[in-house]
Symmetry: C2
Subunit: 296 residues, 2 copies
């Protein structure tokens, strides 16, 4: 397994693979790998002949009051896990490889308001601009055939899909379903911040999402489902930021009838911010302009 | 000469040239070509085996009160001139090729404040973000070995140089000196907006730049040179926006001793905004910490 810190070395290695006819998958991460990340790597190995994993805690996607300094960094364990997973190249860029003149003097990507100024973007101004800025650089440096992202960060996944479509980059964006603890809590590097008591509260997020998906499938209206979701989470001792039913493809608040939905939630357990989401298949009753065609 | 409107066709044509071992030069323009543009094309032909010229009036670089609607469009004349100049491919993108969801829903490039919020950027907020947004797309679509820009838009040239360095794009950025009318007026598509009287006033810009370069070479301090430049231009009947002495490489207002300088000016003749600039070689007196080493 190659372990490189410079963009030139990565370009050379990937260029050689391309010339040999090998396809390349990129898995961008911030390190501190858990089973969720390793599911992305597994998917990458299925999709391409060479797998590149980047480990980089990107400063431009953290707000001034967020946890950039304390974000968990476990490079030794990460490298061992990636080696065991059969990864071909780990890219651990020095900051100057990503931001040659430093993050404050970097050219940024501005995500259109429709995707950036909603849900998590409302509470983390500039976050998705930072995500798009680093992902664009990684895509340009590695030039993968496919890049793999987790559905856990669902809004991020959509932002990247739109970025790639808008810039006509020749890369497929692959989403991988959320990997969960046995009690339903979505795997996250930030779960380690939770106290034992908060850890017991946290699965309420997933339970509320499942209940919401069931309610929507049963024909309940999104506003009511959202209201109940917020109540459920608050009753579990968490502090909800949002609990929203959105169009699965575009995050619009009032999706058209028959469109696939996504329920998304963000809440604090103490000072730790948790997010999660769940798919809702298109509701069959909605397919025929509100006329129920599935029952007699 | 190929005349294409779609990014896919451009990628296919350029890909075939690359596979044949041909290098590619891109000349991005907004059309309405004059001798200044054709000098860029001539330079491109020297630098690469294939020359691509784009003609696209980019909406995102125009302010709300600027001349997007009235900007001169002369495609028939432009195509004839490019054919005569031996261009291989003219790319006249449909808007959806550059901004698939329209300019308002496009991912933008945010130019760092040090380059965007000074000189022209002060008077045209968002202008350089728009320039960077369209140039990045053209560079990604054409993937040229070299891209050629005029020094007439000197701040733009530096912004593009920084963009390419910051994103580590594998393209050389070539600047071509300003092409002038016999009386010194820099060639510009906007010169056609000038009345006969304004046209007679306009060469005052270049005369003031030459005087400033001479004064700096003679050791006059930048602040005094700038003050006099503003006065000279105003006395000629123009309305100056700025007349500034800056570092040639980075546009800093107080460049270090021995650094090459650039004098830049913007002024209105009636409602028409004109810009120009001139190089000033490093002043030999400044090379030795203010001690004059060139005279006895």
């Amino acid at each position: 397994m190659l372990d490189l810190a410079d963009a030139g070395g990565v370009a050379a290695a990937c260029g050689a693979w391309r010339r040999d006819g090998n396809s390349i998958a990129l898995v961008p991460t911030m390190g501190n790998l858990h089973a969720g990340h390793l599911a992305l790597v597994d998917r990458a190995r299925v999709l391409a002949e060479r797998v590149v994993v980047s480990l980089y805690v990107n400063p431009t996607q953290f707000g001034a009051n967020e946890d950039l300094a304390s974000y968990p960094r476990t490079p030794v364990e990460d490298l061992a896990a990636l080696r065991a997973a059969g990864v071909d190249l780990v890219y651990r860029p020095a900051e100057a490889e990503i931001y040659p003149r430093g993050p404050a003097r970097a050219f940024g990507v501005r995500v259109p308001s429709a995707y950036a100024d909603t849900l998590c973007g409302t509470f983390r101004p500039g976050h998705f601009d930072g995500v798009a800025s680093v992902v664009l650089r990684l895509l340009l440096q590695v030039r993968p055939d496919v890049a793999v992202f987790g559905e856990k960060d669902y809004q991020q996944l959509l932002v990247i899909r739109r970025l790639v479509a808008d810039l006509r980059l020749a890369v497929d964006i692959e989403g991988v379903p959320v990997i969960r603890e046995p009690d339903g809590l979505a795997m996250s590097s930030r779960n380690r911040y939770l106290t034992a008591a908060q850890r017991r509260q946290a699965p309420a997020l997933y339970r509320a999402l499942v209940a919401a998906a069931d309610a929507l499938a049963a024909g309940q209206v999104p506003d009511e489902v959202s209201r109940r979701g917020v109540e459920t989470i608050a009753a579990a001792g968490l502090r909800p930021q949002y609990f929203e039913v959105r169009g699965a493809d575009d995050l619009v608040p009032a999706p058209a009838a028959g469109q696939a939905l996504r329920v998304l939630v963000a809440a604090h357990a103490g000072t730790t911010r948790l997010i999660d989401n769940i798919a809702v298949p298109p509701h069959p009753r909605a397919l025929a302009n509100g006329v129920d065609v599935t029952e007699n």
